[in-house]
């Protein structure tokens, strides 16, 4: 038969090997998701004891709620800006570190470090860095008071979030992109150089086309991850404020469910958000993924 089935002579062994992991996934992923979908059709009392089937009422309520759409738009804006930057900046760094220049070796090392920092810790640090009184932008305020005020100005708060997200995204994307660049045979560079292509030309015509698979991977991961991973940053830096300006969908779900005890509404929004992310990833594979040439 197929080659896979010949690897394991015992039919149960592979299942047994996978079982512990599958059990965890089912327990901590599929069960909660099923629960969320289930609750989205009920009006659920916080402490249990009474739940009422309401059909699609919760969906109608959420979809007609202006706050939901606003949070949705903010999520999309954050996703597009933050994830493009979180790929673009590591790309520039990776291209630079790939070249045989001074300090490129230590740079390759140092740039991976932020990977070890938890989102919440990044948030705490960035809240301090961008503090309007003591942070790096404080001098701006001494020139023109109030120009940098993330606690009052929604745009400033949003910029802080994006900066923190991009910084946190650098290491992983950097490693993937650098690995892609390093796997390009030197002979390609040499051939292009012999044909008279300068460094810039070689980046656009040789390196970038050849690392498309890596770029695609980082983009897909970034887009899906930025939807949910912003939570830790929002919770530590802005708490969704000022005036809800940084309330992305994932944070709204948390607030609705856990401080508002709106389990049904939060579940409904979770269901909608999940469908959105699945569709988004499918679209990326459908429209972008097909054009990528994995052969070298």
């Amino acid at each position: 038969m197929t080659s896979e089935s010949t690897l394991f002579s015992n039919r149960w062994l592979p299942i047994l090997l996978v079982a512990p992991f599958m059990l965890l996934i089912v327990l901590f992923f599929y069960v909660p998701i099923f629960q969320a979908f289930y609750w989205s059709f009920f009006l659920e009392q916080p402490f249990g004891g009474g739940s009422m089937f309401v059909g699609f009422d919760n969906f109608a309520r959420v979809l007609s709620d202006r706050e939901f759409w606003q949070a949705g738009w903010r999520t999309i804006i954050f996703m597009v800006t933050a994830s493009s930057l979180a790929v673009l900046i590591p790309l520039i760094l990776a291209v630079a570190a790939d070249r045989k220049i001074r300090l490129s070796l230590p740079a390759r090392n140092v740039l991976v470090w932020p990977k070890g920092v938890a989102g919440a810790s990044i948030g705490v640090v960035f809240a301090f860095i961008f503090n309007p009184f003591v942070g790096i932008l404080a001098p701006l305020n001494s020139i023109s008071p109030g120009i940098w005020a993330p606690g009052l100005d929604g745009l400033d708060a949003f910029i802080t979030l994006i900066a923190a997200h991009v910084w946190g995204g650098i290491p992983f994307n950097f490693v993937i992109l650098l690995a892609g660049l390093q796997s390009i045979p030197r002979t390609m560079h040499q051939a292009a150089a012999m044909d008279g292509a300068g460094p810039w030309r070689r980046i656009f015509d040789v390196q970038l086309p050849l690392i498309m698979p890596q770029l695609f991977l980082t983009l897909v991961l970034e887009f899906t991850e930025s939807v949910t991973s912003a939570f830790a940053l929002i919770d530590t830096i802005t708490k969704g404020g000022p005036g809800g300006a940084t309330t992305l969908l994932v944070y709204k779900i948390y607030v609705d469910g856990f401080s508002g005890y709106d389990l049904s509404g939060a579940s409904t929004q979770t269901a909608i958000l999940m469908v959105f992310v699945i569709l988004l990833t499918a679209a990326q594979f459908l429209f972008l993924g097909r054009r990528i040439n994995y052969e070298r």
Binding site: L43, E44, Q45, P46, F47, G48, G49, G50, M52, R61, D65, E67, N131, P132, F133, V134, A149, P150, G151, L152, D153, G154, G240, G241, P242, G243, G244, T247, V255, D256, F258, S259, G260, Y261, D262, G265
Partner: protein, 435 residues
């Protein structure tokens, strides 16, 4: 035959157990000096008797404590005692997860609680649902040293005087005359209560689940617009305007000269001011021409959760009895600034000879503030999903402070979103009567 012996043995065991010691759990949400004081009470209880042992678990905040309680209750793994804050009163009353304290402790003299505290937590039949624990109310804090520097010798008592003082402070070069965080409890609830204004119809929900918010049409709208204007003038500062980033921290550090704050932060302020500034606390300011009514009891109270065996309930009762003791309440007040809300404790303080001491400063003023003549709208707040409404109110008013929309638009939007919450609450608890 054998089975009946086993059953008898089991019954005996159960009987023996109920008389034996119970380990009970108590969840609270406070941190800092208050948490230290709570832990001290738990230790004192465990040291004072050997029958029961209370295990006090800090959850970091009221919200987190409640989230965990909901999850734990659904998993049947919940504590027997839980502290919860004022805003969740109705959510808990209708949760079917708690037993009214007055029901399981019928012999306690609950009348000794001052009327303001009772009104907030009692059923329509006059039974207390929860035992007030760390009760607080809104007070007006001033940095006397800074005020005197600016030539203000009388502590302001009206908003007009507060703003006059703020102008003087500003003229004297003070960067932050008055600070607030614009929190719902401070600027909406306590303001409305003491000015005799309703927040919602049906007397803030006391008369039925079909109440609607009305605060956007009352005088509070004018006050909030004033705050916006005063902030533009540089007289009022918000959290984000201060170096400290938080209004109490800014006041305690001497950055701001006046603030409206909970009596519960009194201990932290006195500690921070020690030797540097002189602290004054008074009742919160009124607008001229308005008669003063009571402020609401804030802070938190303790609920007894359902689903525990008799031994645990006995332990819980013993712990609640212990916390109600005058000497315990006095020690807690002295350590934190929270207000004792029973008359016998007030008497005990007066008799102790320490009545004028700084550690009891908030007790007298806080009680005086909560004992002002009540109205039907200053009993409390009995509105569903109110915790979430507080966040909506802050979110919408922040937009007004940030200049994105006028305060009236903010309040109208907050009312609309709040009403949606109330309707959903009504639907969630369809057919349930207010207790």
């Amino acid at each position: 035959m054998k089975i009946s012996i086993l059953a008898a043995a089991a019954a005996l065991m159960a009987g023996a157990c109920s008389a034996q010691a119970a380990n009970i759990e108590f969840w609270y949400g406070n941190t800092g000096p208050v948490e230290t004081a709570i832990k001290a009470q738990c230790d004192a209880f465990n040291a004072a008797q050997t029958q029961h042992k209370v295990n006090c678990v800090g959850q970091g905040s009221y919200e987190v404590s409640m989230q965990k309680a909901i999850a734990a209750y659904r998993a049947k793994n919940h504590p027997v005692l839980i502290q919860f804050f004022d805003a969740g009163t109705l959510d808990l009353m209708l949760s079917n997860a708690v037993v009214p304290v007055q029901e399981i402790l019928p012999d306690v003299k609950w009348d000794s609680y001052i009327a303001g505290a009772r009104a907030y937590y009692e059923t329509s039949g006059g039974k207390l649902f929860a035992q007030p624990y760390n009760a607080s109310t809104l007070l007006f804090y001033t940095n006397k040293t800074e005020l005197e520097k600016a030539g203000i010798t009388q502590t302001p008592t009206t908003w007009e005087e507060v703003i006059d003082a703020a102008r003087k402070l500003k003229a004297g070069g003070h960067a932050c005359p008055f600070v607030t965080d614009g929190d719902t409890w401070r600027v909406l609830e306590q303001f409305s209560a003491r000015h005799g204004l309703p927040i919602a119809s049906k007397h803030n929900g006391y008369d039925g689940l079909d109440a609607e918010y009305v605060f956007n049409t009352t005088f509070v709208a004018k006050h909030l617009q004033n705050l916006v204007d005063w902030r533009k003038e540089g007289l009022v500062k918000l959290n984000a305007d201060t170096k400290a980033g938080n209004y109490t921290a800014a006041f305690n550090a001497g950055e701001c000269a006046m603030m409206e704050g909970s009596s519960g932060s009194y201990a932290a302020s006195t500690k921070a001011f020690d030797g540097k500034y002189q602290l004054t606390v008074n009742m919160a300011p009124m607008y001229k021409g308005y008669e003063r009514h009571n402020t609401l009891v804030g802070g938190a109270s303790i609920y007894v959760m359902k689903g525990h065996d008799q031994a645990q309930v006995e332990g819980a009762k013993a712990f609640l009895d212990f916390l109600r003791k005058p000497e315990q309440q006095m020690a807690f007040t002295a350590a934190t600034g929270y207000v004792p809300v029973t008359n016998d404790v007030l008497e005990a303080i007066n008799k102790s000879g320490d009545a004028k001491a700084a550690k009891y400063a908030t007790a007298a003023i806080g009680i005086e503030s909560m004992n002002q003549p009540p109205t039907a709208d200053s009993r409390g707040i009995r509105l569903g999903f109110y915790v979430q409404f507080r966040e909506i109110f802050v979110e919408e008013t922040q937009k007004a402070y940030g200049g994105q929309q006028t305060m009236q638009v903010s309040l109208d939007k907050a009312k609309k979103r709040g009403d949606e919450l109330l309707r959903r609450f009504e639907q969630t608890y369809k057919g349930v009567k207010l207790p």
